[in-house]
């Protein structure tokens, strides 16, 4: 089926070349670097597993677990928050859906860090929230800033659009007549949801899950800014390796492991939730 120099291949070759240079090459560089001797700065060293051994012998697994845990929590919370909102945007809000979309979109134009610092000012002791409570109602609460809940709050806040919009798309892909038909055939509202709406909006839901999971596992700013480094996510270990520690090969090795873990999880998810079968193409 694939002739080596078919017209299709030839016209696709600039794109392939572009992908090769722009995507594959840096990736291979990172992978290769992860096998270089610790604290070296060139590609020329004798390949070694030293960096991987260092990782497995250290407590780096704690960071991996934190990143995974935070990402999973974020994705679950986002699913619970976004499905009703997305449902409302497609089926209930009507002309107000546009306004809701804008409310969720406009913050994306502001840098993530600035938004997170906004939350710091909101949550900090004597800040917007606690300060107001204190001066209006006279009671003083312990600040929740620099804690795990604050990190999760930040992640849910930052990644919300990435769950909401695929979900909205997924739900809007369910034809109205298909829902009407199920209802007309005797299904209750719940049965319509379970038998028709949920399975038909699955592609959007799965895309939202994957997107937010991949983004959330790479999160760093939330733990730093809102968490006050109460936990060290794996991305920060990578950052420390590349900066203060100046151990680039170690950083590369952690990055490769992270890519592996994410890759395996995504492939597993895609096998479990085969998007094609949701669309009825077996």
């Amino acid at each position: 089926m694939f002739k080596p120099m078919s017209a299709g291949f030839r016209s696709a070759s600039p794109v392939l070349l572009f992908l090769l240079i722009g995507f594959a090459a840096p990736l291979l560089a990172v992978i290769w670097f992860s096998f270089m001797p610790p604290r070296s700065f060139s590609f020329g060293g004798a390949p070694t597993f030293e960096n991987y051994r260092t990782i497995f012998e250290s407590t780096t697994y704690i960071s991996f677990l934190w990143s995974l845990g935070l990402a999973v929590t974020t994705v679950v919370l986002l699913a619970l928050i976004c499905y009703p909102v997305a449902y409302g945007m497609v089926r209930v809000f009507g002309k107000w859906a546009m306004l809701v979309t804008l409310l969720f979109t406009i913050p994306l134009f502001v840098s993530e860090n600035i938004r997170l610092y906004g939350w710091v000012l909101f949550l900090i002791k004597n800040g917007v929230l606690l300060g107001t409570l204190k001066s209006w109602f006279g009671f003083e609460l312990e600040s929740m800033l620099f804690s795990v809940p604050a990190i999760i709050l930040g992640m849910v806040y930052v990644y919300l659009p990435f769950m909401l919009f695929p979900m909205t798309l997924g739900i809007s892909m369910v034809p109205n007549e298909t829902r009407d038909a199920a209802f007309d055939l005797g299904a209750s509202r719940w049965q319509v949801f379970k038998e028709v709406e949920l399975p038909l909006s699955m592609p959007g839901i799965v895309i939202g899950f994957l997107l937010t999971f991949v983004l959330a596992i790479g999160a760093i700013a939330e733990a730093k800014v809102l968490g006050g480094q109460a936990v060290i996510p794996i991305t920060q270990d990578i950052e420390i390796a590349f900066t203060y520690s100046q151990n680039w090969p170690l950083g590369a090795a952690i990055a490769v492991l992270l890519m592996l873990i994410v890759g395996v999880l995504v492939v597993l998810a895609l096998r479990r939730f085969d998007l094609d079968s949701f669309l009825g193409r077996r």
């Binding site: 090459a25 704690i62 934190w66 710091v120 600040s143 006050g228 203060y244 094609d276």
Partner: protein, 387 residues
């Protein structure tokens, strides 16, 4: 019917992801190097401040030059950028005192300056910088390898409403050895300085090779100090947390970090230099920035011009109060420069106690077993995060 449409949703997603990655990749591939004539371009690798428009714009206007400056927040990163081959990108590098003399010059990452042209500037600096100034000279004492400007003591910062200056200076690093302070302090995310300070809290000199016993003490101290920290963060977070009352004091800090808060109307935030400590009796560490010309095969002639440019009283004052952070500069030894500082500005940089604080400091140096200690500290941070 859908047999013919083979572009499935999954394929589409994979393709999209590849495209996104490809675009991201391109960004990293283009570090913007122009190899042609470099008479009109200058690239500076520096600490925050020299990259500000207040400093660079007058130079751009005067020389009609294209000046690019990248700011980083730790020395090793900058130096390793040069080691990794970026010597042909940068013209000037601005790092803390020991690196030029002890690392970059021996490794031929930087080049000597014209002594006749630049040494006279040291004559006008504060007395401590009288030529030949140690950190500006190579080991042999013959080559001038950099220019001095910003400096300052850097130990820790307190909110004086919570901890008096007197108590803080007397207690020094022992402040962290009191179990009662757990949850009341923060830690600035400058991990290189944190290594020094954990050593000082543990009660030994950071700038030497450490015994196994000391390393064990370091580990125990690091775990305890990070466990007790309410927040680890950047300068803005530290100042915000101090002002709001989230924390009472924070490790690693000084004029460089506290001055923005002080200038912003919070004189109760103050950098502290301990009165005593384990470094031959001294407890504080100070830094002096040295700016050197990079060993660039096509070094821009503007590099030396820029070094000269920022020596003028007016530019020195601008550098001292560049956006982000405010610091004393060596050029304040020249009355022409000193007179440009207002009372408020002098207050922000704690001029009243600068001399005595510097006297209580040892100068920043390289920790021989830094890599080992940093790894221990990183693991301690992780353990503190609930492992």
């Amino acid at each position: 019917m859908a047999n013919s449409t083979k572009i499935s949703r999954r394929n589409f997603m994979q393709q999209s992801a590849l495209w996104a990655a490809a675009f991201a990749g391109v960004g990293t591939l283009a570090p913007g190097r122009a190899m042609a004539a470099r008479e009109k371009e200058l690239n500076i690798l520096c600490w925050e401040g020299y990259n500000s428009a207040q400093v660079l714009d007058p130079f751009r206007t005067e020389k009609g030059a294209t000046v690019k400056a990248e700011s980083l927040t730790n020395d090793p990163t900058m130096i390793n950028r040069l080691r990794a081959g970026e010597t042909n990108v940068w013209d000037l590098i601005n790092v803390n005192n020991p690196w030029a003399r002890e690392v970059m010059f021996p490794e031929k990452l930087i080049t000597p300056l014209d002594r006749a042209r630049f040494e006279p500037f040291f004559d006008k600096m504060m007395p401590a910088f009288k030529p030949p100034y140690k950190w500006a000279m190579d080991d042999s004492g013959t080559q001038l390898i950099g220019m001095a400007q910003r400096f300052g003591p850097y130990s820790f910062v307190v909110n004086m409403d919570k901890v008096s200056r007197q108590t803080a200076e007397d207690q020094g690093w022992n402040l962290w050895n009191d179990p009662a302070v757990a949850g009341k302090y923060g830690i600035l995310e400058s991990d290189d300085w944190n290594v020094f300070n954990i050593c000082l809290i543990a009660g030994f000199d950071p700038f030497k090779v450490h015994s196994d016993e000391e390393v064990a003490k370091f580990k125990e101290t690091a775990e305890r100090v990070f466990k007790g920290a309410k927040v680890v963060g950047d300068i803005a977070t530290m100042n915000q947390a101090l002002i709001s009352g989230e924390i009472d004091f924070h490790m690693t800090g000084g004029t460089y970090s506290a001055s923005p808060a002080r200038a912003d109307g919070n004189p109760n935030i103050r950098g502290i230099t301990p009165k005593s400590g384990p470094m031959n009796g001294k407890g504080g560490v100070s830094w002096i920035e040295i700016t050197s010309t990079v060993n660039n095969p096509q070094l821009s002639p503007l590099a030396a011009d820029f070094l000269e440019f920022v020596q003028s009283p007016k530019m020195s004052h601008t550098v001292a109060f560049a956006e982000g952070t405010f610091n004393p500069v060596a050029q304040m030894g020249n009355p022409e420069c000193f007179n440009l500082f207002t009372k408020e500005e002098l207050d922000a940089i704690q001029w009243d106690s600068l001399e005595e604080e510097m006297a209580r400091c040892v100068e920043y140096d390289i920790v021989p077993d830094y890599a080992k200690l940093l790894d221990i500290m990183t693991a301690a941070k992780r353990a503190a995060s609930g492992g």
